[in-house]
Symmetry: C2
């Protein structure tokens, strides 16, 4: 019998379930990105830069990519070294920098995007569009749940 008897089944805890589901989805993308020497997080940054019109500040970028500031800082340094992004300093506030895709970065995104879209479409197709949309709604609701925390 299970030793302590009173704990939750564990394998079916929510954090584990989210982790497994995410891994199942990501294992489709990682090999695609690896062909271009890109990590999942680097790709998130490049996509976010593609989705914006002009330059964007690191703080806003961190929000959209759901990366913590220190992680983003390292990622931007990496992408800058590889010539995929361009950095400049905001004129009105010298603390802030402005990030945008370089020409090479734009080209890379255009190269990778189709297969990335295809992988996503395949998941959507296998799981069902309506079903996936409902799942996304539920995940969004769960993420919103804990914002008003009053211990």
């Amino acid at each position: 019998m299970t030793g302590s008897g009173s704990m939750r089944p564990f394998e079916q805890s929510l954090p584990m379930a989210l982790l497994r589901a995410r891994e199942a989805a990501m294992c489709r993308f990682r090999p695609l990105l690896a062909e271009h020497e890109l990590t999942e997080q680097q790709w998130r940054v490049l996509r976010a830069l593609t989705a914006t019109d002009g330059p964007i500040e690191p703080t806003a970028l961190a929000d959209r990519t759901f990366l913590l500031a220190p992680s983003l800082s390292r990622i931007l340094a990496n992408l800058e070294d590889r010539g995929l992004i361009v950095r400049s300093v905001a004129t009105h506030d010298q603390r802030r920098s402005l990030i945008e895709l370089s020409m090479r970065g734009r080209t890379l995104v255009r190269t990778v995007a189709p297969s990335s879209e295809a992988a996503y479409n395949r998941i959507e197709e296998r799981f069902g569009v309506r079903r996936l949309q409902h799942l996304l709604d539920e995940l969004h609701a769960l993420a919103q749940l804990d914002l008003g925390e009053h211990p």
Copy 2:
């Protein structure tokens, strides 16, 4: 269908949604565990060891905790240094080791478990038991989806 050139909205992509939901759930647990100098992954290992009767091999432990072998290897070294687990070598196969909780480890689990359960119950209560169960089922289905991959 999104036409040529335009990409999926990104902020509402499945991997991002799973990441956000997981973070929303985990931010409840991390502070609790931090009080005992435990990371989320270390806690997963301790819980898995509690859920088994006798000693267990690292490979089986990796499966249950959803950790990769190299990560688990480092975690076990850490937990052993802290005297929370005991390691022995399997008699029938010298390659394999056997892991089990030490007395201190068992005590620590009993100390942390109640508040961990409480945090989980709170999520369950706010989100709804039935609703959460359905979400877990869908996540499980999604995780199973990609196993039979035939490109």
